[in-house]
């Protein structure tokens, strides 16, 4: 289970951009989020892999430093999901 926060234009693709979702891994969380939400699924995934430029952090650390989509989650973890963004 994790608290999930969607950012950027992903917020507009979900009725609940901040929510609690059941799942043991990041992949399970994303599958749950995108179930019945084709637009969100299209934004998050490219085929079965995470879409390029989508960034996900677990408690502020990029999941690429852990096990990517197979990163296991603990209760009270927070997942932040960002679309492509840039700035300065």
């Amino acid at each position: 289970m994790a608290r999930v926060k969607l950012y950027g234009n992903l917020r507009r693709l979900s009725a609940t951009p901040h929510c609690v979702v059941q799942g043991a891994t990041v992949r399970e969380i994303l599958d749950a989020l995108a179930r019945d939400n084709a637009r969100l699924r299209a934004a998050l995934f490219h085929d079965d892999a995470l879409a390029e430029h989508i960034r996900i952090t677990r408690n502020g650390r990029d999941i690429r430093h852990a096990q990517n989509l197979e990163t296991p989650l603990s209760e009270n973890d927070e997942l932040a999901i960002f679309p492509p963004v840039a700035g300065g």
């Binding site: 950012y7 950027g8 234009n9 917020r11 430029h53 960034r55 952090t57 408690n59 502020g60 650390r61 990029d62 690429r64 430093h65 932040a80 960002f82 679309p83 492509p84 963004v85 840039a86 700035g87 300065g88």
Partner: protein, 620 residues
Amino acid sequence: MHGWSGKILDIDLTRGTFETRALDMDMAHQFLGGRGLGARLLWDLVGPGVDALSPENVLIFCTGPLTASGMQTSNRFSVTTKSPLTGTVLDANSGGWWGMQFKRTGYDVMIVRGRAAQPTYLEITPNGLQFHDASALWGKTVFATTDALGQDNNRRNVLCIGPAGENRVRFASIMNDRARALARGGPGAVMGSKNLKAIVVEGNEKNTAVDMDLYKFMLYETGKLVKASPLTNQALPEFGTIVMMNVINDIGALPTRNFQASQFEGADAISGETLRETLLVGNQACWACPISCTRVSRTDKGEGEGPEYETAWAFGAECGIDQLDAIVEANWLCNDLGMDTISAGVTIGCAMELAERGILDSDLRFGRADLLPRALRHIAYRLDLGAEMAEGSFRFAASHNAKEYSMTVKGLELPAYDPRGMQGQGLLFATSNRGACHMRGNMLGPEVLALPRLIDRLTAQGKAGIVAIHQNSAAVLDSLVLCKFVNLAVTEEYFARMLTAVCGTRYTADDLMRAGERVWNLERLYNLREGFTEVEDTLPRRLLQEPVRAGPSEGYVVKLKPMLEEYYEFRGWDKHGVPTAARLKMLGLDTLPNLQCREEKKPTIARHNGQAPVLAGGVR
């Protein structure tokens, strides 16, 4: 003209005269334009020990060989001077339309020397240059001055200072096209010290390509990639840079309350997402830019440009303020008064901390959004406490024996990244030639956004090479002068081919990166000549010694020393951070005037004592 017109407009305000001089084309090919050419000219024009606010300092406005060519983002220009805030070499660059229009007057460079006897503004049109009495404009704000002088984006463009520049606030900006800024390091104060209020340009010449077929091809290819990139075609147009607020807060690198913390509980309230949902009414583009990252916001006090991420942070998390409308209005006020929003916000944040600690007798407190307008006005007009704050946070804090609370490097206030949560960014800030700066090679890409690849932001090892390469790359863009956002879509290879098409001389990406390294080393030499040493390649004590107390970066300080050692080695400098004779020879800098290179076994460093200092390895 094809890239360069080969002409410098050299203005003497003391005498009220001007002349057209030839641009040394070897110099132009080596240093390109913009920041590079400005640094090279400054080396000759402003020797060691000159007071930045004296008539002996100069302002060098430089375009690049691609300015006004029509290439994407080819609107930018730079100003180079000696900074009154830091004492280092300073360049700042800006977008909008003024740079394009100045290039159309037929000059590559404008040098402004001396000091006018009375307030003056310059007007450059196809009829020539005229000096005008600016007494009636002196005291007017930036917006009023711009309107009074007839700003018309595509035809007649105004560059000016506001009250902050007139009052020589050390972080006063030069503004162009109303709300575009040559912001950091105080160029506005230099302009104010010269009694120069504004420069108006109207031109009709064109910068056209020698090889039109290659030009059109590169224009098309670049446009295609800018359109294909979700960063330049969706993220920046839709959200602008302020979208970074939640990104940086999430990883625990958002400096909060003068860098006392690295996450802000009010971050979402002042984010790009919230701006979009509440105050945003549109976006805007500079000349020849398809990206349109500029925000246009509306509050019940009016409508105007901004805010950028840095500004929203500086008046937001840095000051503990979570009211977006107050931040938007503070941005407008700061632009109208003519000040750098980053330095203004961090100086106010410093004052807030001093007041809360009982060091300063003031009602300033973190979170007091209602006090922002008064603070900004008092700084710009040097009233009450504002007169002290106008000196910049380092001098201000030092005057209260509290310089450890000034978040600066080489006197320039840090921008919106806590380097305890981004180690490479810490190295970048410590080594940047104009002081703490995120625009001289931002590590945001590799350490956070995975552009091009993700590296661990909390690791110090192995950062030196990436930092140095990013610094060199930024120097290329600043010298061409192009917007860094176009680099999100295309590489230096594209810039090289476009430059080849426009000027008719073949450039490769390697040539450009070598030019970037040349510019970086020249700036380093300038600062060394001014007496800066490895001692100033550092960070505020808070970031080196106080671990982050909570959040994803908890427990971290910046591990600067090993990174710095690695960095000097990667740069080909000696262990004191001085370019060796061998490196300077490789870059073609060994023949700089007033610099001698000879081989010696032991490097030596001496401060300036009336003669050219010995820098290292027999470099004098």
